[in-house]
Every structure is written in C-alpha cells, then in structure tokens.
Amino acid sequence: MEDLIRYAPDLALGFLENIKLSIVGAITSLILGTILVAMRVSPTPVLRVAGTFYVNVVRNTPLTLVLAFSALGLSDQLGLVFSSEPRTNSFWIVAMGLSAYTAAFVCEALRAGINTVPLGQAEAARAIGLTFTQSLRMIILPQAFRAVVAPLGSVMIAMIKNTTVAVAGGFAADSAANMKEAFDQVGASIPIFLGIVVAFMAVTLPIGWFTGRLARRLAVAR
C-alpha cells in the first residue's frame, strides 16, 4: 500500500495525461468519424472508396502500429512536427494517431446508426428540396447519432483505455508508463496496479452509465 501512496503523485500526473489524450481523442475522432461516414454514404464513388479504404486499413491495424507509424513515419520520416518541445510533440503525435484510429470505429458505429433511419426519411428530405449534404446534416445524421449513443459510448471507453499504449507513439508520461517505471524500481505492486484500474473505472463507468441514460432519453420514437 505504501508503494501506491509513494508513487501516487506520479501516477496521478500520468493519469492526467491519459485524460488529456482522451479529451482530444474524443473530440477529434468524433469529428473525423463523422466526416468519414459522410464519405462512405456519399453519392460520389471516389469519396465512398476512399472512406471505405481508410476504415478498413486503419480499423484492422493494431493501435500500437498506428501510433508507431505516427511517430516514426509521419513525425520522424516525413517531418510532421507539432511542437519543438519533444514531450508536447509526442503528446500530439499520439493524440493524432489515437484519433485517426478511433475515427474508424466512430465511422462504423455511425454507419450502423444510419442504417436504422428509414429510407422514407431521406426521401421526404429530398422531396422538400434539401440537397444531399443538407439532408445528411439535418435529417439523417441527427437520427443516426441518437440511435448509436450507447455504442459510441463503448467506442469512447475503448479509446480512453487505449491511451495507455501511448508509449508506442513515443509518449512515455502517461499513467501506464509511470506504472512501469514504478515497477522497475520497487517491483510489481498489486496496490499500484489496482489504483490505476480504479482510476480508469472512475472515468469509464460513469461514461457507460451516462451514455446508456442518454441513449434512452434521445431515442427517436417512430
């Protein structure tokens, strides 16, 4: 137990990084995922193919490889730099890789949501003169989002836990990295281990509960 108390400040700081990654990841992946699903259902074949290709490649690549590619390929080889400060830079590299990865899952959840919207809704939208983009934005996506609030919650929970592999993208300051450092010094400690588990559950359990409630409240009655 004293191991946990001794390392608690370190672990807490690390956990704060997990939370920061999660917040950036949630916002960016939701935006990117929405753009991807718009591409996947668009009437333009090129966009559809591009969206499908992206989702199939990224969704089927292990996250650690996506993050390693972000760090080694995009950052080191192609010179994508977010900040001259290495730690800040690697934070954004990981945030970007994580968002790019999670966006594929957001896209697929939303696509499932779109399939729950009856075809008649799109026909009625078109029939009053809305363009494809307008009907997607005003009629289809709002109903699709409401249908998949709970599955999106699961995607977000997975994403939050995925922040613990940030080290694969060169960001070694999150709670999992700090935990490993602590273990290196004092040996494996069950209390430290459980402490981090509890910290994550304190965030993810409410998200599951909240999105479940929200899903029931927002459900579209037909």
Binding site: E123, A124, I128, G129, L130, Q134, P142, R146
Partner: protein
C-alpha cells in the same frame, strides 16, 4: 397556379420507360397534367402507379423517354433537381414526417433551409397551414405522438409550406386506420377545390368521384384507360378496367 392555363400542361410525360431489373414497370407512358387539374391514378398493385408518381419528382429515375415539368426537362441531379423538388410537393403512404423534429419544425424546415425564408415568417405560415389541416394544437408534439391521420395531415401541411406548383400523393390513405381516412381525404378535397394541381395514387373511389377531373387506370405498367370519373366508373371501356372495378366496387 391561378393562371387558367389549361393550354400549357404543367407536367408532360413522353414515352417514359422504367425497368426494375427484368421487370418493365413503366411502358411507354404518355401523360399530361394540366395546371389546376386533379388527376387520380388507380389500378391493381404492382401496376406502376407509385413508380409513375415518384418519377415526377425523380425519386425514381427513368430509363427512357422524358418528363417535362413546367416547361423544363427534369434535371438529373444537383441543385437543379433540388429546386425542382422544392416546387413539387410529395405526400407519402407512410407519412415520413421527420421523426426527431416537432410538427412545427417539420413544416418550417423546407421554407427556412431551402427557400431561405425568415424563421418568424415560416413559423407564422406553418401555424396557418396547421390550422388549415386542423393540427395547430399539436404543433409542439413529435410525429410519433400523433395518430396516422394527424401525421398525414401534417405531411400535407409540410408539402403546402413550400408553395408547390403541384402535389403528388402516393397512396396517402393506404396506411391509415379506416376511421382516419376521411379526415385526410377532406383536406385533399379542400385542396382540390382551391385549385391545387394534384396527382393522386389512391384506391379511394369516393375521392376520385368527388374531386378528380380525370381518372387514369394503370395496369401492368401501361395506361390502359383515362376518362372523367363519372364515365370511368359507370362506363369503363376496357375489360381490364371493368374487371378491376368489379373487384373493388363489390367490397
């Protein structure tokens, strides 16, 4: 709408053909709809009535021939098509009210987002239209809270809000409980009296007799017969039509 231009047809279909795979659903359809005319399309299921109706605002594409609306061939896609659709109202069998929007929002969405009318003005007009179809008291409810007949009357108000040159009705009463059919037909008869150009796919013979200028009988993808309602119902010319009428009128 008010120019009594029986001379210039609002809609012209010329040799229109349409296939669903190997099924030939519209066969060389030639048809004109005049301004202010109320045209009822009847016939057996699978005869192509709905497809014909949906082709006029291009919810169904056609494979051959052409459709001219108000002097212009139907645009194939894009802004031009959206504009055409904003001028042709459509009322569906299954209402298709926007499920996540209130009744009022259903009626104002088109005017505000497509026509760019100010929200206040659109709201005011929406309430007038809802008043006209008898749903004003339910303006802030959601579609699922209304009965089928009420939803369909809202759908008519939604179409009217765009000030369309014509309204297409695709079996507007077929999904309704029997006791709700009349309230929808009453609204439609009112529209017909006010001079709205209407194409109505329906099995409601009462409506055809009371409101239609012309009845078109369709079967197997073809227009088999067209006539005034009185002539058609009392003195059908073709065996196919007489056979159909004998089946529905005895029930």
């Amino acid at each position: 709408m008010t120019e009594n231009g029986d001379a210039t047809p609002l809609v012209q279909l010329e040799n229109v053909n349409k296939h669903f795979g190997s099924l030939h659903v519209l066969k060389d359809i030639n048809l004109t709809v005049s301004r202010g005319e109320v045209l009822v399309v009847i016939g057996p299921s699978g005869g192509g009535k709905s497809t014909l109706c949906r082709a006029i605002n291009r919810l169904e594409t056609i494979d051959g021939g052409r459709i001219v609306f108000d002097g212009n061939v139907l645009p194939a896609e894009g802004k031009g098509l959206a504009k055409l659709r904003s001028e042709v109202g459509m009322v569906f069998q299954s209402f298709n009210l926007f499920a996540h929007k209130t009744i009022r929002e259903n009626v104002t969405l088109g005017p505000v987002k497509v026509r760019g009318i100010a929200k206040d003005a659109a709201d005011k007009r929406a309430m007038e239209l809802l008043e006209r179809v008898g749903i004003a008291a339910q303006a802030d409810k959601y579609p699922a809270q209304l009965s089928g007949g009420q939803q369909q009357r809202v759908a008519i108000a939604r179409a009217l809000a765009m000030d369309p040159k014509m309204i297409l009705f695709d079996e507007p009463t077929s999904a309704l409980d029997p006791e709700m059919v009349q309230e929808v037909l009453d609204v439609m008869i009112g529209l017909a009296r006010d001079g709205m150009t209407m194409m109505v796919v329906t099995h409601e013979m009462g409506f055809a007799r009371r409101a239609a200028n012309r009845v078109v009988f369709m079967a197997d993808g073809q227009i088999v017969e067209e006539n005034t309602p009185d002539e058609f119902f009392t003195n059908a010319q073709t065996d196919r039509a007489r056979d159909f009428l004998s089946k529905i009128l005895t029930h």
